[in-house]
Amino acid sequence: MHNSWFRSVVALSIAVGLSCVAQAQTNRQGAAESSAKAQPFSPQDLSGVWILKTPYAGLSNHPPPLTAWGQAKFNANKPSFGPRAVPPAQGNDPIGNCDPTGFPRNMFSPSRPVQFIQLPNQLEQIFQYHSVRRSIWTDGRELPKSPDNLSYGWYGYSVGKWDGDTFIVNTVGLNERTWVDHFGYPHSADMRVEERYRRIDHDTLELVLTIDDQKTYTQPWVSEKKTFKLNPEQELYEEYCVPSEEGNYNDFMRNPAGGK
């Protein structure tokens, strides 16, 4: 009751404030946006440092029904975010011990930058957290046909191609140790992920991501549209999760704070 009232007040305040600003700044802001949109760009050049602006830390709020196998995995995962949140000390989020975030969960970190470096035969994505580098091969190769050729890593094996101005990436070879998002949604090693990127203006990159994992979900899970903004001023910095240091933190802070 209190929460809903509180949220309403906050939402109303933000709405009033934003419309207020919009009113006052219409001309100037409009001019700035027009200027950004008017800047020349190539829709087939994704190079640059991008920052996710979509706040939701998962694919979408509407996951498809889980299979029995998926449901069991989901029940076993104890996240510290969302409606099933428990204190990290009581949970089992893999990143709590500095395990790799993994793909596609690493795509859902608002405010953490990702740099795209476009080369003739590949597109490299550099993620600030853990300084992860992900290669997307654009030299025309196919995905490995046989599971025997996959190492089942944390970020998988990815190939990309252009369909008009849409950059389509397909990824396989992802191990089951990562979660799909902060909320503990699982996946199997059978998961295939498709990303569809579109640079709609100089400063804006859109992404729709689809998970196809019949072992875990009864139908494909299509994400909401994620929006990234170009930020040329942003420099990626070193941001590791250091297992030994995280261990100290867990012992001294996280576990006592969470009643463990």
């Binding site: 009033v16 404030g17 975010f81 941001e239 240091e245 995280e246 933190y249 802070m253 006592p256 969470g258």
Partner: protein, 132 residues
């Protein structure tokens, strides 16, 4: 007129943002009671300048002279604190501090650092917007 309107807008948005629930940093929202800040005087016992979580330990003496070792974690990692002028030696064992924390819901002497004062100088105030 336009400036006044903008100032009013900034105030309204600022109030909303300051009051808004935070997106928990590593589950901070679920571990700590963000509605019950408590302020204490203490002596720094340790400073963990570590990735990705910075934290400090400090001893608090009660009226009977009993000492409890508290811990408080910060929202920022070392790089983000360095951008604010901090380094690994900003806090040293023995420093006298006044801290405001959001305490552990489990009742342990642990908290999420909200404010840190040394010699009447505010050294740190958490920007709850950055708490993820």
């Amino acid at each position: 007129m336009k400036l006044k309107l903008l100032a009013l807008c900034a105030l309204i948005i600022g109030m909303a943002i300051v009051s808004a629930p935070v997106f928990a940093h590593h589950g901070s929202r679920i571990s700590y009671d963000l509605t019950k800040p408590m302020t204490m005087k203490g002596t720094v016992s340790s400073f963990g300048w570590q990735n990705p979580h910075v934290f400090l330990g400090f001893d608090v003496k009660d009226d009977s002279g009993n000492v409890t070792n508290w811990g408080a974690e910060m929202a920022e990692n070392p790089h983000e604190l360095a951008m604010k002028g901090w380094d690994k030696d900003t806090l040293k064992p023995g420093d006298q501090i006044t801290v405001t924390v959001f305490p552990s819901k489990a009742g342990a002497p642990r908290g999420f650092l909200s404010k840190l004062v040394i010699n009447d100088k505010v050294m740190y105030e958490a920007n709850m917007r950055n708490v993820q």
